[in-house]
């Protein structure tokens, strides 16, 4: 049996190996993805984002446990940062998910961001597709700890959960553009800490200004004490129902795949320059000239694009 057949048969190793092929861009992986794509799109994708240490992994662990009571098959992709110096990484999200580890209905995969900015890695969309084909009904996509502008997860997830914690800043932080805009559902985790209610109030005020049709809810939770996580899950479902009842579910998925297609085009163009000796040399020569101000970056990129057209 080949990898794809084994994946459809529910073989865990095949699923893991295909995700590796996606991550490493192994020759032929696109052919495998083409074969499985038609069978996917059934899984509901929940993005989990928030600052480092806000409790994303712990909260994911608790949400997944609730869904497991209904015997749903779950996939989790957890992204952690890659060193810009060595390419190495410590992927530690599994530490918070110890009990899920041996649950055969849960597949957890850690990924290094591998230089990709935006909170995810290059391979996450395709990895979601693989988990979808593997039969996962819900897929959790946990980003790296984010700052203010890593908004990419909303382009891969159906519902984005923004996990905040008290004590990170005042209401000005809450009204800034960027990550605070992408949550469809908000959680203020560590609700037993001082200032949790105030943080909720500040986020609520920010959300009251929004003129969008969907008004995200803000739920106080304590992931570690497992308090209110069931309420939060209900809020996620409410957003899902809202998407399904309106036409938005299709529209958002269309916007998401459009984004995915564009990023594949971008990647292919980059690779045609970098993986071709002649064009790579051209790039080197042009960079040299631009650095010396003999040439400018704008003409240089036109030269490369013209070269690609040949």
């Amino acid at each position: 049996m080949d990898l794809v057949e084994r994946l459809f048969a529910g073989d865990k190793r095949a699923c893991a190996r295909l995700i590796s092929h996606v991550e490493n861009n192994v020759n032929g992986v696109n052919e495998d993805l083409k074969k499985i794509y038609k069978e996917t799109g059934k899984a509901y994708v929940i993005g989990i984002t928030g600052p480092p240490g806000s409790g994303k992994s712990t909260l994911t662990d608790k949400l997944v446990k609730l869904l497991r009571k209904e015997d749903k098959k779950i996939g989790i992709i957890a992204v952690d940062p890659t060193s810009p110096f060595t390419g190495g990484a410590i992927l530690g999200d599994r530490v918070r998910m110890g009990d899920l580890n041996t649950d055969s209905g849960v597949f957890i995969r850690s990924m290094g961001a591998r230089g990709h900015l935006g909170g995810l890695s290059d391979a996450t969309s395709a990895a979601v597709t693989v988990l979808d084909a593997y039969g996962c009904e819900y897929i959790f996509l946990e980003t790296v700890g984010v700052g203010q502008s890593e908004v990419e997860v909303m382009k891969s997830a159906d519902t984005t959960l923004m996990v905040m914690v008290p004590g990170l800043g005042d209401d000005i932080q809450a009204i800034k553009a960027g990550v605070m805009e992408i949550g469809n559902v908000f959680a203020v985790n560590k609700s037993d800490r001082d200032g949790a209610k105030r943080t909720k109030r500040e986020i609520d005020m920010m959300l009251d200004f929004s003129k969008k049709d969907w008004r995200p809810s803000v739920t106080l939770v304590s992931a570690i004490k497992d308090e209110n996580v069931d309420v939060l899950l209900e809020k996620i479902f409410e957003h899902r129902d809202y998407l399904l009842e309106s036409n938005l579910y299709h529209l958002e998925r269309k916007a998401n795949v459009k984004n995915e297609i564009l990023s594949l085009v971008r990647k292919e163009i980059m690779e045609r320059v970098i993986n071709n000796d002649e064009k790579h040399q051209l790039l080197e020569d042009l960079s040299h000239k631009v650095a010396l101000r003999i040439e400018n970056p704008y003409t240089a990129s036109e030269i490369i694009i013209n070269e690609l057209k040949k």
Binding site: A16, S83, G87, G88, L91, G92, R94, N101, S110
Partner: protein, 130 residues
Amino acid sequence: MRPIRVLVAKPGLDGHDRGAKVIARALRDAGMEVIYTGLRQTVDQIVNAAIEEDVDCIAVSILSGAHNTLLPKISEKLKEENAEDILFIGGGVIPDDDIPFLKENGVSAIFTPGTPTTVTIDYIKTNVRK
């Protein structure tokens, strides 16, 4: 070039993970992706994580003295799951006399206290499946 993926795990009941963290950090600085699973992992947890993460190497740190029981169990489980192609190494307080037994039972190498991290890194780089 794809990074080597290593699962760093602590089986059994001892709660001392400084060594494991030092190793994890050293492997990270050597350009590897280290999946760190934390303390008190069971054999099933370690093998399952290794499979899901599709790692090239499992590195376990054990200081409790239960190495002769736990490490062979990990190799057995790997065989059961058809995953014995994953390089399996151990480290920690392990008497020299026990090392031959562990090597007969599926552990490729044992690194005892005082081993420079570079030795472990080189061993992994040379011996993972290509």
